[in-house]
């Protein structure tokens, strides 16, 4: 299968592993952050970290869409789901994210009409089939998903669908990366850049990382050899004294991104002044809301939402995990009180969450032999 088999080849993986070993300095400890939760999932699914020398540590970043949704936004969504006549729609994992008094799945069990959709377009179709009801789509995700919501809202406007609304929680990738880089307790040597977000935004928005912070970033695909090669490219840059943005995922990611996607997003959305991220706090201009031209579809204008800020449970250390400060197994409730079946924190819900990836692939502690 083209673009799959060649990126899972064991001999090529061994060769890359040897190349990595040849470029690392003995005695130096390297920390490389994979920004995207999809990379975290692939790393543990395929055992990519087992092919790295002991002194190359992978740090897991904040790029898991459901993991960064704060509890207060979940509560707001649940509040809307209970309104009379409302059909509330969202993606699958979002239904299990805990709010302060349960999840959307719990709200459904209590009688709210909460429906899972695969795409925003599915939610629009539900609205068209139920003209006597008001349908809310709870939009989440980075720039990978935002174009889909934007296209759906354009269709809703063109088709004059008046009972379709969006509660927009889309976030953008660059501001949290800058916030992480400004964090004094994080020491990183480089980044594996998010592949799917980059299909939309391109690689150019990451140029501030080498320019302002002196750290390389390599945009990578999601097959095991993609990730291994990206790590090799980062380590080679460090060995050669270079520091730049490179694109390992050229078969999909144009350096300038998808111009049409960016245009449709610019038409439908505008930046929020600030937005709360789970574990990271409020970050300026890091999320999207509907533009004035699409205000008629904005659920937060149609209904009054509580908007109360809710603190994370004390036992939950998702914030430290999302910042890469601790490993998932270092959280005191990991694998005991917090499991994928009964998650306390968001990072245990989605398979792309770092905690769920560690739990599902049996990484309860770091025990690696020195290569």
């Amino acid at each position: 299968m083209r673009f799959v088999d060649e990126f899972r080849d064991a001999e090529l993986a061994s060769a890359l592993s040897r190349e990595i070993l040849s470029v690392v300095e003995p005695g130096r400890h390297y920390q490389v952050m994979e920004v995207c939760g999809g990379h975290t999932h692939s790393i543990y699914k395929y055992g990519v970290d087992d092919l790295l020398p002991e002194n190359v540590e992978l740090v897991h970043g904040p790029g898991c869409p459901v993991c960064v949704i704060p509890m207060g936004r979940v509560d707001d969504g649940i509040d809307l789901a209970h309104r009379d006549g409302v059909i509330f729609t969202c993606f699958g994992d979002m239904m299990r994210i805990p709010g302060s008094h349960g999840s959307l799945l719990d709200a459904k069990a209590q009688g709210a009409d909460v429906r899972m959709v695969y795409s925003p377009l599915d939610a629009l179709r539900i609205a068209q089939k139920n003209p006597e009801r008001e349908v809310i789509f709870f939009a989440i995700g980075f720039e990978t998903t935002a174009p889909s919501t934007a296209l759906t809202l354009k269709r809703a406007k063109a088709e004059r669908v008046e009972n379709f609304f969006c509660m927009c929680n889309h976030v953008t990738i660059v501001p949290p990366l800058r916030a992480l880089l400004d964090s004094p307790d994080l020491r990183l040597d480089g980044f594996v850049g998010p592949g799917h977000v980059s299909t939309v935004v391109g690689a150019r928005p990451f140029e501030f990382i080498p320019a302002d912070y002196g750290k390389p970033l390599v945009v990578a695909g999601f097959e095991p050899l993609d990730i291994l090669q990206a790590i090799q490219m980062i380590l080679r840059q460090l060995a050669e004294g270079r520091c730049e943005v490179e694109n390992q995922y050229k078969r999909v990611v144009p350096y300038e991104g998808n111009r049409r996607a960016l245009e449709v997003m610019a038409e439908v959305f505008e930046l929020r002044p600030h937005f709360e991220w789970r574990g990271l706090g409020f970050i300026s201009q890091s999320a999207l809301k509907l533009s004035d031209a699409y205000a008629d579809f904005d659920a937060e204008l149609r209904w009054e939402v509580p908007g109360v800020r809710v603190a994370d449970p004390k036992a939950c250390q998702c914030g430290e995990v999302l910042k890469g400060v601790i490993k998932p197994w270092e959280c005191k409730v990991f694998g005991t009180a917090c499991t994928p079946e009964r998650p306390i924190g968001t990072c245990m819900v989605s398979p792309e969450g770092a905690c769920a990836a560690y739990y599902n692939f049996g990484r309860f502690a770091r025990e690696r032999e020195v290569v």
Partner: protein
């Protein structure tokens, strides 16, 4: 055409929530509506919005997220 719903359920994880995308092959194009029928490598079909990657043609591989094609696969490498 709801085969991709198999990838989105609370028990097994949601690929849309996970920021994942799925490579699919275009099998039929409705350029007037900006839509195409695409199949994944298991042969499952879905209706996909192709407005962001037009023009598309049968046989091309596209990267699909939330029922929208966000990129053409292999566009940046030699065939």
């Amino acid at each position: 055409m709801t085969a991709q719903h198999e990838h989105c359920d609370p028990a097994h994880g949601c690929i849309t929530c996970g920021d994942q995308a799925l490579e699919m092959r275009v099998v039929a194009v409705d350029s007037a509506r900006g839509l195409a029928v695409c199949v994944d490598d298991a042969g499952r079909a879905a209706e996909v919005d192709t407005l962001l990657v037009e023009p598309t043609a049968a046989g091309e591989r596209v990267l699909v997220h939330a029922r929208v094609a966000i990129a053409k696969v292999g566009a940046g490498v030699a065939a």
